[in-house]
């Protein structure tokens, strides 16, 4: 520990290396914590900081991450690694140019992003997507805390529009029974991927054939889908953890999932041809993942309580509508992004209803 300390201290002093000061500082702060003390009241403060907050979000993502690694092997690890590296690069460049500290937010973005990708995504597309997301989804607005859209979603949507061929057709069944070599020794996955069964996602299957996937399959993740979105059990465990630690507010997932259920139930009753049954809607596609990990992003969702419920409910309605009546099979990401854009407006309305303007 002492050695690390000495090493860091000397790094600050070496002329060329200390250009990377934000990086050294970030490592320093992460390893050693702060020596600052409170000045005026309050004299003691809560032990949480943004690092702990973000670590909890990452811990909550771990079950889903592990599931995706179990399903897709080395490939999943590579995609996650590339996403982190490219995202960190952008974050780092901005910290250097604009001389601010490296903020912890990208740690979560860098993990959410690969988990919503199809396992076949080429690595360079992963890099492009995450860089675009961090750049246009976050840094452009002034960094963590000021962004309007969830950066991971911006990146994901960008590559969906930019590379429709890659992003919409290449789904894979989880290669659970692939041989060890296929999964772990062929990183670029050519054989593993070409050999694996390309399959449609349950939602796509439903759209064309009206066949509902079986619940055990949906729960354990034995369906095609994005890397981290399929194993719903892992997502639910992580999501509950997230809400327990208060790193994610429970109001949004509850109202989101609840409204999907309610509207799907109503819709399915009246229009059984186009709207899938509610139970299936809940567990299919990216709903669970989106509701727990993307819609809850505190920065891009409304901060008022009423606003949070509104946000969740409208996300739910949009998701059901897009899934049932649009050309796309999945509507979770679109609805969250649309609602991200509306979040400031929702807050504004809630606030102006709650607080009457004062006459001066």
């Amino acid at each position: 520990m002492k050695i690390v300390r000495l090493l860091l201290d000397s790094l600050y002093k070496i002329p060329v290396v200390n250009k990377a000061e934000p990086l050294i500082e970030a490592i320093d702060a992460a390893l050693f914590g702060t020596t600052d003390t409170t000045q005026r009241g309050p004299h003691i403060v809560d032990a949480i900081d943004t690092k702990r907050y973000m670590s909890c979000a990452i811990a909550a993502l771990l079950p889903a991450t592990l599931a995706s690694i179990y399903f897709y092997g080395l490939r999943a690890i590579l995609i996650i690694a590339v996403s982190y590296m490219a995202g960190f690069f952008v974050e780092f460049m901005f910290a250097v140019v604009y001389k601010h500290k490296i903020h912890e937010g990208f740690l979560v973005t860098g993990l959410i992003f690969p988990l919503v990708l199809p396992p076949t995504t080429p690595l360079w597309v992963v890099a492009v997507g995450v860089m675009f997301g961090v750049l246009f989804g976050k840094e452009m607005f002034g960094g963590t805390g000021r962004n309007i859209f969830n950066p991971a979603l911006v990146g994901r949507l960008f590559i969906t529009i930019a590379f429709p061929a890659i992003m919409t057709i290449s789904w894979l069944m989880p290669i659970t029974d692939a041989t060890f070599t296929d999964k772990w020794l062929t990183p670029f996955g050519d054989t593993a991927i070409t050999d694996a069964i390309t399959a449609a996602t349950p939602l796509a299957v439903y759209k064309t054939t009206k066949v509902v996937a079986s619940f055990p399959d949906l729960l354990t993740g034995n369906t095609a889908g994005s890397m981290g979105e399929t194993c719903r059990i892992a997502i639910i465990i992580g999501g509950l953890f997230l809400m327990f630690t208060k790193a994610g507010n429970w109001r949004i997932p509850v109202s989101y999932i609840g409204s999907v259920f309610v509207f799907a139930a109503i819709g399915n009753y009246f229009l059984p041809d186009s709207i899938a049954p509610p139970g299936f809607q809940l567990f299919a596609g990216g709903l669970m993942f989106g509701a727990f990990f993307m819609a809850t992003d505190p920065v891009t969702s409304p901060f008022t309580c009423a606003g949070k419920y509104t946000f969740g409910i409208m996300c739910g309605v949009l998701t059901v509508l897009i899934r049932s009546f649009s050309g796309y099979v999945e509507g979770v990401m679109f609805s969250i992004v649309i609602m991200n854009a509306l979040a400031p407006l929702i807050d504004h309305i809630v606030l102006s209803l709650k607080y009457r303007p004062v006459k001066v």
Binding site: F32, G33, G41, A47, R52, T304
Partner: protein, 497 residues
């Protein structure tokens, strides 16, 4: 009498922190010299009525001013006046009388006191309360006919007696009410009832103190003259601004004190002082103070003569090699006590010794946090609700993290006791947008409890920004919105500096 539970939906309960004072009470030796500030507790500064060199007895009035809103101050020791001068009392210059003590412990009785107080007139009781100095208790004094508060006894509609203790460290009511204390307390209640005959009385205790609640409910007069409540000790439920609306409904007159709406809020010790003054003729020369926090060797309660220098009180109880920060009354809003010669006066309830934690901790953010407190449940300590010694939460002055932009986690909004949105206000002030929008978002409702700064994961001094916003608004000519109810004793309230 069975107490009624009042739920307070906001705030934050500080559980199981290290350094709670034990149930032990020791008497501090009479010091060689005391300094008596001429302004102690509520009221204006009084004028000295003694000369340097004059001999005084403990309990003798050495400063009073019957014209302005004030209460007299007393010599707390037998001895000789050494000096009449000025001291710096927590950043404010206050007149003070220094007395050399002769070390004897007896004290002078007030004229006309009687253990059979029932026979005294309300007028006489009021006078005893005034003369004893107990009238300066609470945030706006105990109303008597003698200008000890901004309102007259007849104007009082409600009296709230509270022994909740929602701070991180609290004086234990058990210590105060041990033995005869409890019956004295009940008597004290009855005395107050006689002075403020028109008022309804309310007693609030900490929900978790079961045995005390039991004893009190057995002893309370059954004539339904006192409403008995319990609350969960969620900070800052025992602050006047929160407690009054919680028990009585209505709205706190922000910018004024509870007395202006006819309410008197007192703590248990104030009631005991009243009893001692009226039944025993003892002036306010002694007080119980809790020494808490990890910095003290022994965490206990001490009974001391007012005016004793702080150093005299804590001397035997601290290690010289530890770097300490002494805090008065509250870890959240209390002032730092850096001058050890400061005399302990009527406003002292707890003195907390915190360790200055300016050492960094290796991988602090990834530690499980068995002994760390957090509003979020990101520390494992949140799994252990029991008061076990092993998982006692540490309290030091480290900020535990770096300053970051607000992430809209809304923790501050969830805990804010007055339901305003701290992060919204602070963002306005941070961007220097000081305009009527701040009024619209009710910035003046903030009671400066500092809880929002406590919980913020981004380590933003939210409450400080809000204070800045308030003073900015006032300097720009905005006014604190006037309360809707008519206020009492405004003239007098404004006359107190």
């Amino acid at each position: 009498m069975i107490p009624k539970y009042k739920a307070f939906p906001r705030g934050y309960e500080f559980k199981n922190f290290e350094g709670q004072p034990e149930g032990k009470l020791i008497q501090i030796k009479i010091p060689a010299g005391v300094t008596i500030p001429l302004r102690q507790g509520f009221g204006n500064e009084v004028t000295p009525v003694v000369e340097p060199g004059q001999r005084v007895a403990a309990g003798q009035i050495i400063g009073r001013d019957d014209e302005s809103v004030s209460s007299p101050v007393h010599s707390s020791v037998n001895g000789k006046i050494a000096k009449i001068g000025k001291i710096d009392y927590l950043g404010r210059e206050v007149g003070a009388i220094t007395i050399e003590s002769d070390g004897t412990g007896d004290w002078q009785k007030l004229q006309g006191c009687s253990s059979d107080w029932q026979g005294l007139s309300a007028e006489k009781i009021g006078e005893l309360i005034y003369l004893s100095g107990a009238g300066a208790s609470g945030r706006a004094g105990i109303p008597t006919e003698f200008n000890s508060s901004v309102i007259a006894p007849a104007e009082v509609e409600n009296v709230i007696i509270q022994g909740v203790g929602s701070e991180v460290h609290n004086l234990s009511p058990d210590v105060l009410l041990k033995g005869e204390g409890l019956s004295h307390f009940i008597e004290g209640l009855k005395i107050l009832k006689k002075v403020m005959a028109g008022a309804r009385f309310h007693l609030v205790l900490n929900k978790s103190q079961k045995s005390l609640i039991n004893e009190v409910s057995q002893l309370l007069p059954t004539d339904n003259l006192i409403n008995f409540f319990t609350v969960t000790p969620k900070y800052p439920v025992d602050h006047d601004e929160v407690l009054t609306p919680l028990l009585l409904g209505g709205k706190f007159p922000h910018g004024y004190s509870v007395a202006n709406i006819g309410v008197v809020v007192l703590d248990i010790q104030a009631v005991l002082h009243v009893y001692e003054a009226v039944a025993e003729g003892k002036s306010l020369i002694e007080r119980t103070v809790a020494l808490c926090g990890p910095g003290f060797r022994e965490k206990l309660h001490v009974k001391l003569r007012l005016g004793s220098p702080l150093e005299h009180v804590i001397r035997d109880n601290v290690d010289a090699d530890k770097k300490l920060r002494l805090v008065l009354n509250s870890c959240l809003t209390g002032q730092r006590l850096s001058d050890l010669s400061l005399p302990v006066d009527r406003t002292f309830t707890t003195v907390t010794a915190l360790l200055e934690e300016n050492e960094s901790q290796f991988l602090a953010f990834a530690r499980p946090g068995f002994r760390r407190d957090s509003y979020s449940r990101t520390c494992l300590s949140s799994l252990f609700k029991k008061n076990s010694k092993m998982f006692q939460k540490t309290c030091g002055t480290n900020v535990h993290g770096e300053l970051r932009p607000c992430i809209f986690c809304t923790f501050c909004e969830e805990v804010c006791p007055v339901s305003i949105i701290p992060h919204l206000l602070f963002q306005h002030v941070e961007r220097d947008v000081i305009d009527e929008n701040l009024l619209r978002y009710k910035i003046f409702d903030c009671i400066e409890c500092n809880l929002c700064s406590y919980v913020c994961p981004s380590k933003i001094p939210v409450a400080e920004f809000i204070k800045k916003g308030k003073s900015g608004l006032i300097s720009e000519g905005f006014e604190i919105p006037a309360p809707d109810t008519a206020l009492k004793g405004l003239e007098k309230y404004k006359s107190v500096e």
